[in-house]
Symmetry: C2
Subunit: 395 residues, 2 copies
């Protein structure tokens, strides 16, 4: 163990094809990778209680919080007073916060990007706000998540090379400013989540860099080099799944993932379906987040081992089978498709609650099975069978 303790430890334990199974040790526990992180936008993973996230059939070890949303509401005064995001929401396991960069970028015409940062109007009260690398780092220190993301700028999926270069270069400069501000805040002890960490860790927040560059491989490579040069605890691929064609997304991942530092976690932001996750793992990715299981669950869509199933479909009205006959989650152990359809048709909250639970169980269980297949050297076989199996049902 070196003198200077690091905030996280990451160890790749098995590789099968390019897929990696490993252990990410954070100051709030160990996370087996590849890992899927449920999205807890406003301090809650929508439609599910924390007790369920911790229950055996889900056992989520890390969830996401959105800096943009939490900064605007309830605001940092409330969260600071509570002693950080963990305490405010009542979650002791690991948290990752994004930087707000993607969210303000998504505001489109409502935001104005300059060298200094991004000016935008709050969707909550219309007030003029300004987010920059420094502000984002300050907010994320107050939130006190275990993993913090640099403040980046995204380019549209089909951005021309000149625009994508500008955006990538801005991201590189913002990454450096993020790093500097992050280190200052750590020195000042402003990270609310700091703890006396076990396992030889420093107890500080970890900071991840983000690779941008749209679908231009040269820009992606340059972005990666410049990000590694600054130096981070992990590296993310941002700016994918934002309107580009899917084959282009795979090409970028195939190009970039092998060049990412092999001893540090690789995080593909905002992706995707269960198939996407398995495919990206096959290209060397370790971490994921996505709203699909929760958002689609609230809209009546279940992800199953036999493909997607929409509970509102009349064909399930008399179907006494569970959503997924090979699923062991608490919803599939107890409730039928007919009942779930009834709940959805009557507009009952329980429909969204139960589908969210099942979908998260399916995503998290898929990750467990992926890890197992990598460890046993059967990843390629698993991937082939999984992709085939989830292609069965139409909606």
């Amino acid at each position: 163990m070196p003198e200077t303790k690091l905030p996280i430890a990451f160890e790749v334990e098995s590789i099968s094809s390019q897929a990696r199974a490993g252990r990410l040790t954070t100051r709030r526990g160990v996370i087996e990778t590849p890992v899927f992180m449920p999205v807890g936008t406003a301090g809650t993973v929508k439609g599910i209680r924390f007790e369920e996230l911790e229950a055996k059939d889900l056992d989520a070890r890390i969830i996401l919080g959105n800096t943009y949303h939490l900064w605007l509401r309830p605001g940092m005064e409330v969260i600071k007073l509570a002693g950080g995001l963990h305490r405010f929401i009542g979650w002791d396991r690991a948290l990752l916060t994004d930087s707000g960069g993607f969210q303000v970028w998504s505001l489109g015409a409502l935001r104005k990007i300059s060298e200094e940062g991004t000016e935008f109007r709050s969707h909550v009260d219309g007030s003029l706000r300004f987010l920059s690398p420094e502000v984002s780092m300050e907010v994320q220190a107050t939130l006190g998540a275990d993993i913090v993301m640099v403040f980046d700028e995204c380019a549209p999926g089909k951005a021309p090379a000149a625009d994508a270069r500008k955006s990538m270069e801005l991201t590189a400069r913002w990454a450096r400013r993020s790093r500097v501000m992050f280190d200052t805040l750590q020195d000042q002890g402003l990270d609310t989540g700091r703890n006396e960490c076990q396992e030889g860790l420093s107890g500080a927040q970890a900071l991840f860099g983000i690779v941008q560059g749209s679908t231009h491989h040269d820009l992606r490579r340059e972005s990666l080099e410049r990000t590694i040069e600054i130096g981070f605890d992990g590296y993310a691929i941002g700016g994918l799944s934002v309107g580009e064609e899917k084959p282009l997304m795979w090409e970028v991942i195939e190009e970039i993932a092998p060049l990412m530092p092999s001893g540090q976690p690789r995080y593909l932001m905002g992706v995707g379906t269960p198939e996407d996750l398995v495919e990206a793992i096959g290209r060397g990715v370790d971490m994921f987040d996505c709203v699909l299981p929760t958002r689609n669950g609230r809209n009546g869509q279940a992800f199953t081992s036999r493909g997607k199933l929409n509970v509102k479909n009349a064909r399930w009205a008399y179907d006494t089978r569970p959503l997924d006959e090979s699923c062991k989650c608490s919803v599939c152990r107890r409730h039928s498709r007919a009942f779930l359809r009834h709940l959805h048709q009557t507009g009952e909250m329980l429909a969204g609650i139960l589908l969210t639970h099942h979908n998260l169980a399916f995503f998290l269980d898929t990750m467990r099975r992926v890890r197992q297949s990598i460890r046993s050297g059967d990843f390629l076989k698993f991937r082939r069978e999984f992709i085939e199996s989830v292609s069965v049902l139409a909606e």
Copy 2:
């Protein structure tokens, strides 16, 4: 044990003042009384999973289903195919179904009442439907709840004596028709919930009669006599909390409860606040149902040992205390008023989910404490302190 086994057994074990603590043994387990029954309108207690209803901090032993709602949607074909309501929704504990009488009465101008029954338009698809004692008993046999209610007619809270008499007499005739049809259906084995019952019970459904007569004491007494004459497994007081002044409600309960058969459960339908429950128990009532804990929870109102608390109030924005400092429910053990307020302000489903859980915990725990106070002979002291305590907080 008599030759002819009864569907339920009821034993009053302690009386303190007029408050009774007892045991209601149904074909799906023992229920300590006084008992509060969460309302599961459409086959789900809104906003809460069945696992939570069963968890130690709630431990609901019986919940309600609404005949009217379930009959219209998903309809009896679906529920029959599932094997009854217990199986359809995945709930093994006791169920009580109302008759639909109150719900169709609530439709007001949209329904037409005749000697035969009530004609109305479905709120789901606008179709013309007809509900009568016979239809209600058929539907309730298909639902297979453990306790079935007779089909009754309610009169408005301020009904003149002549109208109230007409309504009461119709209810009496409908009660007899309900009894006859119920017995026929039992003979035909159409009760989907029938089981090989332990504890010397018959395994059949229990049927409760309903006393009507608005706020007219003579009509109430006559209704009670005529209902007892028909003979039921339990007796309910209906038609209260429907617009009459509260003192008039208490007068009716004080007049009628002592005349109800002391060896059978007394059920006050659709009432009320925690204070109402405690007051009614002091007048000899054993069973309650009400939507207040669930409906008000979804609207941001918490019932606590210090009174009602509306989470949207700005005064809770920085309040790190639980909703109720003396509550041991899973919500109060984990979450602060500040977090619950944040969830409510951001429109998160979790606000309703958590408030519903806490409110049900408070109602059910109040019943536990009431039973304890009756058993220890301290009910009057408990009631005095409880009413004083819940009068503290304003909204």
